[in-house]
């Protein structure tokens, strides 16, 4: 009874977060397209920036969750920790894919080519591939204790590349803009700053929502595996009975 009540409360909180996220995203789209000014040199394509940068931030959040979940799993193995790490990796891949799609579309206009082997682009692609590798490992290597531990090690080591992405533009140069962290003028209109802050807010909510949804799914999978084991213990044929 208490478990059912907790599940209902959790569902309510989840749908409340979903509603807040939907409202925030609609508000952000309105602000980006109808309020934030067009950039002087790049024109309307600059508006990609308001979702491109937050998408990489979302990737960092996912990767951070994968790192924390993996580290916690290596300290003490629980289904919830493993589920959180896996959810983090998937969120990192989703947001990384968005960043890798929107970035080249910006580059086509700004640099005249979709891709250059710029240090930031290269390290970002490498990080994306690390989390793709994590998910491939989880999908094809089985779900045993050894595989989970190996994946957790990858989740911890994979995070080592994150600071390299961040500092690559400062250390190795390249063409990637430094509008936020550079020493230039940054965003020179208050509405541009609000649009970017809104983007960060929306992607924080989206990342939280996706992490929650994916963790729930992984926990349901673990519960199903236990239920199947119980059914086998009781002598039930799980393929036909359920």
């Amino acid at each position: 009874m208490a478990r059912a009540r907790a599940a209902t409360r959790s569902d309510t909180a989840f749908y409340a977060l979903l509603a807040v996220t939907a409202v925030a995203v609609v508000g952000e789209l309105y602000f980006v397209f109808l309020v934030a000014p067009i950039e002087k040199r790049m024109g309307i394509v600059q508006k990609i920036f308001y979702f491109h940068v937050p998408s990489w931030y979302g990737m960092y959040l996912g990767a951070g969750a994968c790192f924390l979940g993996s580290l916690a799993y290596l300290i003490r193995t629980t289904d919830a920790r493993d589920a959180f790490a896996r959810a983090g990796a998937e969120v990192a891949v989703v947001f990384g894919a968005i960043g890798l799609i929107t970035g080249p579309l910006w580059g086509a206009k700004a640099w005249g080519s979709f891709w250059t082997w710029d240090p930031r682009l290269t390290t970002a692609l490498l990080s994306f591939l690390i989390y793709v590798a994590y998910l491939v490992l989880r999908s094809f290597a089985g779900d045993g204790s050894g595989e989970r531990k190996f994946s957790a090690a990858l989740g911890v080591l994979g995070a080592a590349n994150l600071p390299i992405i961040h500092y690559s533009v400062q250390k190795w140069g390249g063409q990637h803009p430094m509008v936020i962290t550079g020493s230039g003028g940054g965003l020179q209109h208050p509405d541009m700053k609000i649009a970017l802050a809104g983007g960060f807010f929306c992607f924080t909510l989206l990342a939280a929502l996706m992490l929650w949804a994916r963790t729930r799914l992984e926990l349901a999978k673990s519960r199903l595996a236990r239920a199947e084991a119980d059914a086998i213990d009781l002598g039930l044929d799980t393929r036909t009975e359920a």
Partner: protein, 107 residues
Amino acid sequence: MTWTAMQPATPNDRSETFQAVEGNAKEQYSGGALLVTAYAALWVVIFVWIAIVWRKQAALDARLTDLEKVIDQADAAKDVPATATATAEKGAAKGATSKDAASKDAG
């Protein structure tokens, strides 16, 4: 001529500022198609992901509910004979005790 052509990018030629357009300046280099593609891609990726997770969760929940129901039924069926045996044993023990008491009284 594009902005890129006017200012060819060099390895360290990066943007450090964004400025709002002044007055009613017309956009010379339309990035509309690129912008629409970027936003479409963003929503396609997110909605495809949501659809996949939603479907997986629904399938898992359905299977889990069915399986837990079957396990509960099997548990209940296992408990019924056990309870019946325990009641019978208790009844037999009670009968034996009253028989002993009766024989004591008679003695």
